[in-house]
Every structure is written in structure tokens, then in C-alpha cells.
């Protein structure tokens, strides 16, 4: 028999959103909460890689306008409106938890990422009605009578497979773009943060819809992964950007909405590379060093650290490549973080539709904080309504256990996860990158299917305790589904909007495509559809 743990609310993911959701829900003394994270809080996930910039300064109208025009009107306006109106409250609650929030540049404040998580972890471990399960990977959601009733779990420290029964489940597993591309901001120093998008796929397989999965933000990154934290040099990304002939491609990124994270700018760099004029460099050797007294302390520390590694953009040209950064797509929710499955909630980067076609720097922390609290609050309301957790299907559980254990069995012609992942990353880089077209996407689909057929050849070494290869094999089997859903969504959107650019449909098509793409799992198959964006607060200006 499998071990079963029971709770009212299961929160999956130990980043900022999951941590805040657990604390918010724990205010209800009679609710028991389990927070499960595949790594320790503050030592896993994407939150620690964030620099803490949180867009929060200015009127709700200004922030709303900034996000929705930046997102090319693909944002869910109900969600955005709630978020920009709620951020001040949420920051106040963070302060009450003892998190230091300092003013930053522009419309941002700084919520220091790792420091915040460490502090939250301390509070969580002292909160009697939260059980913190670290080094625990959730592998599948279990359902009963149309609601989610819990999940299957793997204790990484022992390899034990067990079950968690829950009235309500909150998915807070983060982004999906890091593992899909060879270059990414998600992996400091080139070391994988395993941000593999399994939460999106688990929700999808449980019946939730995914929205706008084709919307993936790509940004310029230092070619040398050791330089990733160059962003702690203020103004580094302002450029100037030069091609290999020393010609300036762009000297004024501030002219773009979203600056160096703008899709228009990134597409410009991509075209320069396509012409064969790469590599691209940022050359600031003639610029003055920034005044460290203008920097907040945490940033200055990181800047010094980069310098101690011998990296100084005022001494050398820095080579730039393009890589993945953020997934604007994700689980379809409303402003209460509810999915279409009554007991299932989603918060943080795993939510879709918040940032539309382009995320502007600083709004992901706003999303994490506001909806972290909100998901905890809403999940608690649901759990308090007194629904009992449903049962489990033994069939589902046995099937999942078999599915996990298959990777430990010897194979005739075995493959390692890294081999398959590299193949997948190449496909994504070649065909599902900054500029896409139908023939490339169709080719990607065929190649992804071939890779999926090879998942059965994945073989991890046969032991149970902290088996990284095993965990990665389990995650890869979900990632390959995700890749297919992204390609299907990208094929469906026959226009160019934000970070989704189609060479065969180069124009933004407001007539036909002010719509979200939707994918859902129906009768054993992915089904692609669309739904109109509700434009009740802000409409695009029609060209005459």
C-alpha cells in the first residue's frame, strides 16, 4: 500500500507564489496545508534568479496601460486590472511579514528575491498548520468526480512514491521556457534550474485549459553564462549593440516599449544574426561606469561579484546571444486564480494570460506577489466550504507508479535525458524560436513526435535515493507534451503579435486574432481552439 498524506490544501511549488499562498491560507487555523517543492525553498526554482524588481509605482491606470499596450492587447484585462489595483496591498502585507522593500528605479520597487524566500521559509517552518515537504516532486494530479482530489508524489531523498489527498490544489510550479531552449536566462552560470513546465502539463492532463502557449519571451543574454548577472550593472542592456563589423545596430533601446526585453528589438537582433552579421556585442568601453551610490545595496553586491569574476563591460566587449526568458502562456485562470476545474487553482508564472504577448520587466514579481496571496485566499475559501476530498482511482495510481518506475528498468537501446533534451532544444531553437512559419512549425511537430517515441528508451540508473537522472526523465516525459502544445498553439495563431512572429503572417491581425489560443486534453487528444480577448477596459486604436 502507498503511504497517504492528507490535507485541505496542497500547494505545489516552493517559489515566491507558492510560499505566499501557503502563508495566506494558513491564517485559517483549522485548515491543514501541505507545501510541496522539488527543491528547498530559496534554493530552487526561478524566484531566486529574479533581481527583485517589482512594478508597483504609479496609478493603477498607468500600470494597466503599460502592461496591456506592451502585451499587445492579449492580456486578460480582468486579471491585469485586479493585479495593478492590488499590488500596494500585497506589498503592505509583505512588509508585515518582515520583508524589506526598497525603492528602485522607474516604476519599480525592489523585493529582494532570495532574501525574501529565506525569510518566508523561516515563517513557514514555524507555522503549525503548514507541513513543508521539500525535495518532493509532484508527478500527477489525481481526480475524482470532476474535481482534483490530490496528487502522486515522489520523495527525492528516499525515492518513495506516495499520495497526497487534498480538498484543493494550488499549482505554483513556475515557468516553462527554461529547459526548452539551449540558451536561457533561467539557468544562472549555464546550470539548469529545471524549470521544465511540468505544472502546466499536469493541469492540462487533469482537464484545465492552457492559454497562449506560443507566447514565449526571448531576450538578449551574455553568450558566456558566467556573465548572466551583468543585469546588475544598471544600464548595461541599454547597449550600444554592435554587429561583428563594429556597426552599431541599436544605440537607443529606451525607444522601445519594454526596452531590451521588447519583441521588436529582439526580432531586430535576430534578423541581424540571420543576415550572418553576428556575433552581436555590447560595447560600453567608451562609457562611464555607473555611480555605485545610485544603486541599491543588493545590486551593488552582485555587481562586485561579477567584477570579481573578471567581467567588466567597461573593459571589454560582451558577446550577446538570444535565449528564452519568460512564458506568457500558461494555465487559464480568472482573477481569483480559479481554473475550470473547481478545486484547482494556479498562481505565479504558471498562470497564463496575465502578460499577453510581451511581459514588461518587473511585472512578473508583481504577478507572483499579488496572485500568491490571492491563490492562498481563494483556495482557503474553497476548502472552508466543507467539500470533502474525493477518492482516488487505484487504476490511475498504479498507472502513474508504473510510468515513473519504467525509467529505472533496463532498456535495449538506452538514451540519457541530456541526449533527448539536446535534441528537443535544437528543434525548438531551429523552428519555434523568434521568427516562425508554417513549414518550420510542421517540421518541428514531426521531430517532436519522433523524440516522444524515444522517451520509452530513457534509462536512469537503477537506484532510488536522490536520483537526479530519474527525476529528469520523469519531467522530460511531461516536457515533450508541452513542446507539442506550444507548436500546436503557434501553428494556430496565423498572425504576428508580441513575441509570436510568423514570417508567413507578418502582420498583427486585430480583425481575426484578438483571441487567446487554447489547448485542452479531450478524449485522449490535445484539442486546439481559441476564445476572444475581453477588451472591456482598453481597446487597440484602429488604424485608418
Amino acid at each position: 500500500m502507498n503511504k497517504i498524506k492528507e490535507c485541505d490544501i496542497l500547494i505545489i511549488g516552493g517559489g515566491g507564489s507558492g510560499a505566499l499562498a501557503s502563508l495566506e491560507a494558513s491564517k485559517h487555523e483549522n485548515l491543514k496545508i501541505i507545501l510541496a517543492s522539488k527543491g528547498p525553498i530559496g534554493q530552487s526554482g526561478l524566484t531566486p534568479t529574479g533581481n527583485g524588481g517589482t512594478k508597483a509605482v504609479g496609478s493603477a491606470d498607468e500600470l494597466f496601460q503599460d502592461m496591456v499596450t506592451g502585451g499587445r492587447f492579449l492580456n486578460d484585462q480582468e486579471i491585469v486590472w485586479f493585479m495593478v489595483n492590488e499590488i500596494q496591498n500585497s506589498l503592505e502585507r509583505l512588509k508585515q511579514l518582515g520583508i524589506p522593500i526598497t525603492p528602485s528605479r522607474g516604476k519599480s520597487v525592489c523585493v529582494p528575491s532570495t532574501e525574501t524566500l529565506k525569510k518566508l521559509r523561516k515563517i513557514i517552518t514555524k507555522t503549525h498548520n503548514i507541513e513543508l515537504l521539500e525535495d518532493v516532486l509532484i508527478t500527477r494530479l489525481l481526480k475524482s468526480n470532476g474535481t482534483v482530489s490530490g496528487a502522486t508524489a515522489l520523495d527525492l531523498t528516499t525515492g518513495e512514491f506516495f499520495l497526497i489527498k487534498a480538498t484543493t490544489v494550488v499549482i505554483a510550479t513556475g515557468g516553462y521556457t527554461g529547459e526548452l531552449y539551449p540558451h536561457t536566462s533561467n539557468n544562472p552560470f549555464g546550470i539548469s534550474s529545471d524549470s521544465s513546465g511540468t505544472g502546466q502539463v499536469m493541469a492540462y492532463l487533469a482537464g484545465a485549459e492552457l492559454v497562449d502557449m506560443e507566447m514565449i519571451q526571448f531576450i538578449p543574454l551574455p553568450a558566456n553564462p558566467r556573465c548572466l548577472y551583468l543585469r546588475y550593472f544598471p544600464d548595461f542592456w541599454a547597449g550600444p549593440y554592435e554587429n561583428r563589423f563594429g556597426e552599431v545596430i541599436e544605440s537607443n533601446v529606451n525607444a522601445y516599449h519594454g526596452e531590451s526585453y521588447s519583441y521588436l528589438f529582439v526580432q531586430k537582433l535576430f534578423r541581424e544574426l540571420e543576415k550572418g552579421n553576428g556575433p552581436i556585442y555590447i560595447d560600453q568601453r567608451n562609457l562611464k561606469s555607473p555611480d555605485p551610490t545610485l544603486m541599491i545595496k543588493a545590486w551593488d553586491q552582485r555587481r562586485k561579484l561579477i567584477k570579481s569574476l573578471g567581467i567588466d563591460p567597461h573593459q571589454m566587449k560582451i558577446e550577446i546571444i538570444l535565449g528564452s526568458h519568460f512564458g506568457m502562456g500558461g494555465i487559464k485562470v480568472n482573477k481569483k486564480t480559479e481554473t475550470r476545474i473547481p478545486s484547482l487553482y494556479a498562481t505565479g508564472e504558471v498562470m497564463g494570460g496575465v502578460q499577453g504577448g510581451m511581459r514588461i520587466s518587473g511585472y512578473s514579481f508583481t504577478q507572483m506577489i499579488v496572485f500568491g496571496f490571492e491563490a492562498g485566499r481563494q483556495a482557503a475559501i474553497y476548502a472552508l466550504e466543507g467539500q470533502k476530498p474525493g477518492g482516488f482511482s487505484t487504476f490511475d495510481i498504479d498507472q502513474e507508479r508504473e510510468s515513473i518506475l519504467r525509467f529505472l528498468k533496463p532498456k535495449q537501446d538506452p538514451l540519457s535525458v541530456i541526449e533527448l533534451k539536446k535534441r528537443l532544444q535544437q528543434v525548438m531553437q531551429d523552428h519555434v524560436f523568434i521568427i516562425r512559419d508554417k513549414s518550420g512549425l510542421s517540421e518541428a511537430m514531426d521531430k517532436i513526435r519522433a523524440i516522444r517515441a524515444d522517451v520509452s528508451r530513457l534509462q536512469a540508473p537503477n537506484f532510488k535515493r536522490f536520483n537526479l537522472e530519474w527525476v529528469r526523465a520523469i519531467e522530460f516525459s511531461l516536457m515533450i507534451e508541452l513542446a507539442e502544445l506550444i507548436v500546436k498553439s503557434a501553428l494556430a495563431r496565423e498572425e504576428s503579435r508580441g513575441f509570436h512572429h510568423r514570417r508567413d503572417f507578418p502582420e498583427e491581425d486585430n480583425e481575426k486574432w484578438l483571441k487567446h489560443t487554447l489547448v485542452k486534453w479531450e478524449e485522449g487528444h490535445p484539442k486546439v481552439g481559441s476564445t476572444p480577448v475581453v477588451l472591456d477596459r482598453l481597446k487597440p486604436v484602429t488604424k485608418t
Partner: protein, 143 residues
């Protein structure tokens, strides 16, 4: 060899090994790299059975990669090794809270905990000398 780094890595799976032992890896290196990058290469290219906490904040802040490197507790993310060098890598704590190979349990207030462990660091180093002189295969049970 000047184009490789030699890593001597503490190995112990309490479920499968009678006692700890050390594996020696020769890793091709085109330049200096951090110990965490080195461990990643070993995992990706040489030995998928090696366990360590892969996560990297790259800032010496999250403490996930704290381990004993050449007998001193350091952050693997920013401790650099050069081609031609030899590096010994051991868990931050053993036997207290040890899980497998370089992975230890994360405890709240880890720094206090680790100060206490400094005493056992010496013991560990002595044990290594004793173990490593033997055939490292001896630590493994029949598989």
C-alpha cells in the same frame, strides 16, 4: 594533463554502499570553471549516478551548493578550478543529515548547524585519507 581537471568526489548511498568511498573523475576542461559547473559536466557526460544539489543562484546567496571543497566549506557556484588542477569535493556535512553523495538535508539556520559540523570536517578528511588509499570499488556493494 593540462586540459583536464581531476575531481575526487565523495560517494555514499546508505542504501547500497557499505561505507563511503571516493570516485576520481577526469573532466575535459577548456578553461577554468566553477566546481558546480564541473559537477554538472560529470553528471551530464560521465556519471549520471552522482547526486548533488544542482541548483545555482550564482550569487553565493542561496547556500544550496555549499560543500566541502579541498577540506574547506565553500560555495561550489563561485569556487573556480583550473585545468591541470585536482579538487576534492565532499558533502558539507557527514554523517549528520547526509542523504547521498554530496547531498545533505537542508536545515533551518544552516550556518549555525554547519559551524558545529566544522569539528567533524577534520574527521571526514582523515576518513578520506584512510578510504582513498584502498580500492574505491570496495565501498560499493555488489550490484
Amino acid at each position: 594533463m593540462n586540459n583536464q581537471i581531476t575531481a575526487i568526489v565523495f560517494r555514499y548511498d546508505p542504501e547500497r554502499d557499505e561505507k563511503p568511498y571516493y570516485d576520481e573523475y577526469h573532466v575535459k576542461a577548456e578553461g577554468e570553471m566553477s566546481v558546480l559547473v564541473l559537477l554538472n559536466r560529470i553528471h551530464n557526460e560521465i556519471d549520471t549516478t552522482l547526486s548533488f544539489r544542482i541548483f545555482c543562484c550564482g550569487l553565493q546567496m542561496c547556500r544550496s551548493c555549499l560543500m566541502k571543497i579541498n577540506d574547506k566549506k565553500r560555495f561550489a557556484c563561485l569556487t573556480l578550478v583550473k585545468p591541470g588542477e585536482k579538487v576534492t569535493i565532499e558533502p558539507a556535512s557527514y554523517p549528520d543529515g547526509h542523504i547521498k553523495d554530496l547531498v545533505v538535508k537542508i536545515v533551518d539556520g544552516d550556518s549555525e548547524k554547519l559551524k558545529k559540523d566544522a569539528l567533524s570536517a577534520k574527521k571526514c578528511s582523515e576518513q578520506r585519507k584512510a578510504t582513498f588509499s584502498e580500492n574505491s570499488e570496495k565501498g560499493r556493494k555488489e550490484r
